[in-house]
């Protein structure tokens, strides 16, 4: 009973993540890659992502503190960040990255900073939600790994 309940919870969280636009189709792809041989694949990937992105975020922080702003560098870092975010399906984060890059392109320093703050927020939120999700998922045990939100 408990398990079923947990599973439902997990499913619910997942649904909400998709509904609210935190995650997109790519996340499903990752789940599809998870199988018996690779039971924690998604979690591993996401952990890798956290590591990479922390580094990139702090890098961005430093670069944004400089004066004058090195937009090219910012763009490069963000390009990479966007790449990894899109690989795990972090939809909102990715959108924010795109916006940030646009500000870089137009050399809008203030816009960059604002966008960066927003992006950090989205990232933090996503991270928290995913952590909860994975925790529950582990408790619930193996379940259908991939489903497509309606």
């Amino acid at each position: 009973m408990d398990k079923i309940h947990s599973r439902r919870q997990v499913a619910a969280i997942k649904h909400s993540l998709f509904d609210q636009g935190y995650l997109d189709e790519q996340f499903i792809q990752l789940e599809e890659l998870q199988d018996d041989a690779n039971p924690n694949f998604v979690e591993e990937i996401v952990t890798l992502y956290y590591r990479d992105s922390s580094r990139l975020i702090s890098n961005l922080d430093h670069t944004l503190e400089r004066n004058p702003l090195d937009f090219n560098k910012l763009d490069t870092i963000m390009h990479q960040f966007k790449g990894s975010s899109s690989s795990i399906g972090a939809k909102k984060v990715k959108a924010e990255c795109t916006l940030f890059r646009e500000y870089c392109r137009t050399r809008n320093g203030e816009g960059c900073r604002r966008s960066f703050q927003q992006m950090k927020k989205e990232y933090a939120t996503l991270r928290k939600k995913l952590e909860t999700y994975f925790q529950l998922a582990r408790q619930a045990g193996p379940q259908e790994t991939a489903f497509r939100p309606k």
């Binding site: 890798l48 590591r51 990479d52 899109s86």
Partner: protein, 591 residues
């Protein structure tokens, strides 16, 4: 000619299962996801985050991989560069990936030779299909080879070296006729369905373009004149057993591409040279060519008007060519400049990579060469003819390329020095005049390489293409080019060659070339603004398109590349270089 066993055999059994893929991406998350997907498809995967490591792996054992997938943006090496290198050296299919879906980037990828360009995030389904590229390539290669071998067989019977000419011709004629039905080289070999008649059970042999062979090829092309160089005639002139028209045709196509690339480089070099202040037209010598090794003097075949145009440092440039190719890839776009104005210079250069031939500029030499040749060869390989010639210098950055050119030719001032970091000797194929990058509009082979049309003007288109189009050129020129984006040459900037110090010298060339360069943006090339003239004819690269009907590819590429690189690749750079002009009438852009 060495024959290499057809790789098709290796694939047969369980393909695509077990296909060996090398994945390169600096982002760990993406790399891991990609690896998992590839394993899910039952491919055999090797991953690395570092492009240089990837190259080492690939070079280490040539047969270890069937396919390479690489990210575009990487910190240690540009993905496009890696792409070029792999294509040239190993003739493996390369797939690019990026989160950037800008059509220009995609175009750049394709023009650089990528088999495919995937957008991140990569889907499993897309990954499942990548094996097609391997098969496609192998099939093309096989067809090429089998045709050649078939033809060879036919030829061998009747020819002997001595009387080979006739014999070959006969055979060639026959085969050619047969082949006529086949698609032109413009079309992919895949379209030919044919192979067949001859080969069936015959083991398809791969033609390896050794230095000697390539030299013969270059000589033949030179002799015929770049414009008139058609595979059949080249084949006849070359007089080599076991070489088929197809081999030659595909090699020619690659060569042209190579020259184009070089022309970019050359231009750059020229500019550099110009900048360097070489007085001669020799700017060709653009020192940079050093990499290439030898500037093929543009032999008379090409019309080089200016004798003075020695550009490319006689020889220096040529030298570049050879090595350059590898080197060029490294991003020394300059090499690309090698405008292969003289196709034949190129050839020579290729063959004698380090040989620095006196740029015959005096007479009309195309100095192109330098690099393109070797690279060109590599390109050719893609087409299935393995060019045995490897850049003499392993793809080391141009800078390393030793300036072979002793600039014995006149270009004394041309910088033998490697100004051109990119050894790509700017082959300013001044078609008409010496450096002219032969912008030859015709991409006969579809390769778009515009090789030496003798006329400069037209030539320009040629060279702009090869050079420009590849990102390679852009590397160097991008700086410069970017600004101009248009065809105008921003003399100063365009050549951002790294090492170009002699931009001025290049400019001199450019002056001349301007005309011819029409398309060539002097941008890249002109370094230094020296070229007063440069601007003149700089015709935006688009010109190329006109020229090359067939090769839409090159032209387009150029167009694109031009934007990024140097506008007209050919033009610009050369223009600048040509400043000096000693008299060359540089490029008169033909078209």
């Amino acid at each position: 000619m060495t024959v290499v066993e057809d790789r098709m055999d290796e694939l047969r059994d369980e393909f695509p299962i077990g296909m060996r893929v090398l994945a390169v991406d600096d982002d760990s998350t993406c790399l891991m996801i990609l690896e998992t997907m590839l394993r899910r498809c039952q491919y055999h995967v090797t991953t690395t985050k570092n492009a240089k490591t990837a190259l080492t792996l690939l070079r280490g054992n040539e047969n270890r991989f069937d396919l390479v997938i690489s990210d575009v943006q990487m910190p240690d090496m540009d993905g496009f560069k890696l792409l070029e290198l792999v294509g040239l050296e190993m003739d493996l299919p390369v797939i690019m990936m990026s989160v950037n879906d800008d059509p220009k980037m995609v175009m750049k990828g394709i023009t650089h030779g990528a088999c495919d360009y995937l957008l991140k995030p990569v889907r499993l389904k897309e990954v499942q299909n990548i094996w097609q590229h391997v098969v496609r390539r192998r099939t093309s290669d096989s067809k090429e080879r089998s045709k050649s071998s078939n033809q060879d067989k036919a030829n061998t019977d009747s020819n002997e070296r001595g009387s080979v000419a006739t014999g070959n011709s006969d055979q060639n004629v026959k085969s050619s006729r047969k082949r006529k039905d086949e698609s032109d080289y413009d079309n992919d070999e895949q379209e030919n369905g044919h192979d067949n008649e001859e080969s069936s059970c015959h083991k398809k042999a791969r033609v390896v373009w050794t230095v000697d062979l390539h030299q013969k090829f270059v000589n033949a092309v030179d002799q015929l004149g770049f414009d008139k160089a058609v595979p059949k005639k080249i084949l006849d002139l070359m007089n080599v057993e076991k070489l088929t028209r197809e081999n030659v045709a595909s090699h020619l196509q690659k060569f042209r591409l190579y020259l184009k690339r070089r022309s970019c480089a050359v231009n750059r070099e020229a500019n550099m040279a110009a900048a360097l202040g070489t007085t001669d037209s020799s700017f060709l010598t653009m020192g940079s060519l050093s990499g290439v090794g030898h500037l093929q003097s543009l032999t008379g075949a090409q019309h080089f008007h200016n004798n003075t145009f020695r550009p490319f440092g006689s020889g220096g440039m040529a030298g570049r060519l050879n090595t350059s190719f590898g080197v060029n890839l490294h991003g020394l776009p300059t090499s690309e400049i090698l405008h292969l104005g003289h196709a034949h210079n190129f050839h020579k250069s290729i063959h004698e990579p380090l040989k620095f031939q006196q740029a015959i500029i005096g007479g009309n030499q195309n100095v192109i060469q330098g690099m393109p040749m070797s690279t060109g060869l590599d390109q050719f390989q893609r087409k299935g003819v393995n060019i045995g010639v490897r850049p003499i210098q392993s793809i080391s950055p141009f800078l390393d390329v030793q300036p072979n050119f002793s600039l014995s030719n006149k270009l004394p001032d041309l910088m033998p020095k490697s100004t051109m970091g990119c050894s790509a000797s700017p082959v300013l194929d001044v078609s008409n005049n010496a450096l002219v990058l032969k912008a030859d509009g015709e991409n006969t082979q579809g390769g778009g390489l515009i090789f030496g049309q003798t006329s400069l003007a037209s030539q320009n288109s040629q060279f702009s293409m090869p050079l420009l189009d590849q990102g390679r050129c852009s590397d160097i020129w991008s700086n410069t080019v970017q600004s101009s984006g248009t065809n105008s040459y921003p003399p100063t900037e365009t050549f951002q060659w790294r090492n170009l110090s002699g931009a001025s010298s290049i400019t001199s060339l450019s002056n001349q070339s301007l005309d011819s360069l029409k398309d060539m943006h002097s941008q890249g090339v002109l370094f230094a603004n020296n070229s007063g003239q440069i601007s003149n004819s700089v015709v935006p690269f688009q010109g190329w398109d006109d020229n090359n009907d067939d090769s839409s590819f090159p032209s387009t590429i150029f167009g694109n590349s031009v934007d990024s690189l140097i506008d007209t690749d050919g033009h610009t750079s050369i223009n600048s270089i040509y400043n000096k002009n000693t008299d060359f009438s540089f490029f008169e852009l033909r078209d």
